[in-house]
């Protein structure tokens, strides 16, 4: 019976570290995700602080220094077809590209989550109305839809943002609806309803916390698609207009130089590729880190 003498009070008070500290711990053990995050931080940081980096003016060209190759004196990454410094244009271009890549997804995340959670929780007729309307947008390929809306609204940054937001609302709504109707059928939602809580309270306390992380991870994976679409719009001339530096637009204007200096012409494409790859790997890493039961 000596064992039974162990004082119960001596058992240390078990404190759970909480959900987010667990996520952070799992992320810290994932070098690929951390590497991608570092690259993205560097890209976003350099874009944000571009004016203070001592770069050349991205708008001033030189007729004598056109299409200098990578590694030329004074222009580490060469110059474009109007003799503007490529490094400066790539970094300044990151500002616009990342902005157009992120803002529509953030807007669509809020609007789509709202629509999807409402449809999934309320169900019935409202669900049918919202989801069938969303289905109409799925009839068009996203690229075509973005081009059509942008074309109708006219070129310009704001119009690109609007058209890309509209393109991304349907997929986010659909994911939000699927996740919410899954959670809606669980007993803890019934238990919460049985307390007499209003639908809004049940959604706020019991639904949102359990559906937002999968929706958020999905939305993160859309940012790379959005960047590519934005670049595509600029490439087609219905997004950002010259002389603004933007990766898609730069890819377009440099494409005629591809026979002169293919490496130089590919640089904006490389930026798009690296950024979207990092965003995808990061969202994969965050998704697995958010999985509680592993």
């Amino acid at each position: 019976m000596a064992v039974a003498q162990t004082d119960v009070a001596e058992i240390p008070v078990q404190k759970s570290g909480g959900y987010w500290s667990g996520v952070a711990r799992r992320l810290s053990r994932d070098p690929v995700t951390l590497g991608c995050a570092a690259i993205l931080v560097a890209l976003i940081g350099s874009a944000a602080f571009a004016p203070w980096l001592g770069l050349a003016d991205p708008y001033t060209g030189s007729m004598v220094a056109r299409l200098n190759p990578i590694g030329s004196e004074g222009h580490i990454l060469g110059t474009d077809e109007q003799g503007r410094d490529m490094l400066a244009r790539l970094i300044y271009g990151g500002r616009l590209t990342l902005f157009i890549g992120l803002v529509p997804v953030i807007l669509a995340f809020f609007i789509g989550s709202f629509l999807g959670i409402t449809a999934g929780y309320v169900g019935g007729l409202l669900n049918t109305i919202i989801m069938r309307t969303v289905d109409v947008f799925f009839a068009f390929p996203s690229v075509l839809l973005a081009i059509a809306i942008s074309g109708a609204l006219g070129a310009g940054i704001v119009n690109s943002l609007v058209s890309l937001t509209i393109v991304f609302i349907p997929p986010i709504t659909r994911v939000a609806e699927a996740v919410t109707s899954g959670v809606r059928s669980l007993d803890y939602i019934d238990a919460a309803r049985a307390t007499g809580a209003s639908a809004l309270t049940v959604i706020r306390v019991h639904v949102i916390g359990n559906v937002l992380s999968p929706i958020f991870v999905y939305a993160t994976s859309l940012t790379s698609v959005c960047m590519i679409l934005a670049a595509g719009l600029s490439f087609l001339g219905i997004g950002v207009r010259p002389p603004e530096p933007e990766w898609g637009l730069m890819l377009n204007t440099l494409r005629s130089a591809i026979y002169v200096d293919p490496w130089l012409a590919a640089l904006p494409g490389v930026m798009i590729f690296v950024t979207s790859l990092c965003l995808n790997l990061l969202s994969d890493g965050v998704r697995s880190a958010m999985n509680v039961r592993d």
Binding site: S16, L186, D190, T195
Partner: protein, 344 residues
């Protein structure tokens, strides 16, 4: 089935009185989603529960036990029927919100019935907070203590960090946090290990005595129902077929369906094995239930009258509260063996 025969006369002791409760789920199909058929999940269920009593509801899967529970708590809307709680009728002088404060539910799946993102303390305190009761967190901690979980060790844990038995204790505490008069336990101990099940059953019995609770205890396990219940209600295909005090039904099962349910229960004594063949076949489809007595397709006493006339609940014990809906117990029914002794 006629509604009133199931009921004892209205008395002030009755805390809950359900009359003619009905729920048919639409089956939709086709492009336009038109209603093709109706699943008659609960069809005319009536019963009354007295304060402090435990009513056990038994029946095989799909007989409408859980639907009845959810209808009582108002988680699904009833098509028809009256629910009278504490002398007030739901929809008339009783709001759903008030009903929910007075009647709480414990679910079978202890994990799915707790929000994985809330700590145990938050889960228990939620209902009290919603109903505006004083000091929800203090209440939660008291109740955790009462159901045998040390608040200091468990309050800040998450549901996946505790065992199944502990989770079910949390669910019970959560239901009690609203100070309800009735707790509906829907297969609340069915998913637990036998030893844990016994602990939780004892806890439920203690809590009933301490808080003066009334239970509606739904289970498919007859032994568990016998242990905790005062009266047993047997359901088949959405209808009540028998309702009786535990002792009476244990010594004599009046309805052939109840009889086969009891004979399917394994005996602890190898010399006392049942000779009666168990009930065969699946229950009929509740979309298109059999005419007359719904059990006649599987009943060995079935005759033409059983397929034709719906039997009503009638007292077969001379006023001791043993009711059954079977033509065998109605000499006026036209069944050739009606009133014969020793059949059931």
């Amino acid at each position: 089935m006629s509604a009133t025969e199931t009921l004892r006369p209205d008395s002030p002791a009755q805390i809950l009185r359900v009359t003619g409760l009905q729920k048919h789920f639409p089956v939709r199909g086709g492009i336009l989603g038109r209603q093709k058929a109706r699943v008659q999940a609960v069809d005319g269920v009536s019963f009354a529960v007295e304060e402090g009593e435990t009513l056990g509801i038994v029946g095989e899967s799909g007989c409408g036990k859980s639907t009845t529970a959810r209808l009582l708590v108002g988680l699904i809307d009833r098509d028809r029927g009256d629910v009278r709680f504490d002398g007030r009728t739901l929809g008339k002088d009783l709001t759903l919100r008030d009903l929910r404060r007075g009647m709480q539910m414990v679910f079978q799946d202890s994990y799915a019935s707790l929000n994985p993102r809330l700590t145990i303390e938050e889960s228990i305190a939620f209902g009290a907070r919603i109903q505006g009761l004083s000091d929800p967190v203090g209440r939660a901690r008291d109740l955790m203590d009462r159901v045998g979980l040390d608040p200091a060790r468990f309050a800040q844990r998450y549901p996946h960090e505790v065992s199944g038995g502990q989770r079910q204790r949390i669910n019970i505490a959560r239901a009690l946090a609203m100070s309800p008069k009735i707790v509906v336990l829907d297969e609340a101990v069915s998913a637990l290990d036998k030893s844990v099940e016994a602990q939780v059953l004892n806890l439920l019995a203690d809590l009933r005595a301490e808080f003066g609770l009334t239970y509606i205890f739904i289970s498919h396990d007859l032994n568990v129902v016998r242990y905790i219940s005062d009266r047993i209600l047997v359901m088949y295909l959405g209808e009540v077929v028998e309702l009786a005090p535990v002792d009476l039904i244990w010594s004599r099962q009046a309805h052939p369906y109840t009889r086969s349910l009891f004979s399917a229960m394994p005996s602890m004594d190898p010399d006392n094995r049942t000779e009666e063949p168990p009930l065969t076949g699946d229950p009929p489809n509740p979309i298109n239930p059999p005419s007359g007595c719904r059990f006649h397709t599987r009943c060995k006493f079935a005759e033409a009258v059983c397929a034709r006339d719906v039997p009503v609940m009638r007292d077969i014990s001379g006023g001791q509260g043993h009711l059954a809906a079977c033509h065998l117990h109605d000499t006026a029914s036209g069944h050739s063996r009606a009133g014969e002794e020793g059949l059931t």
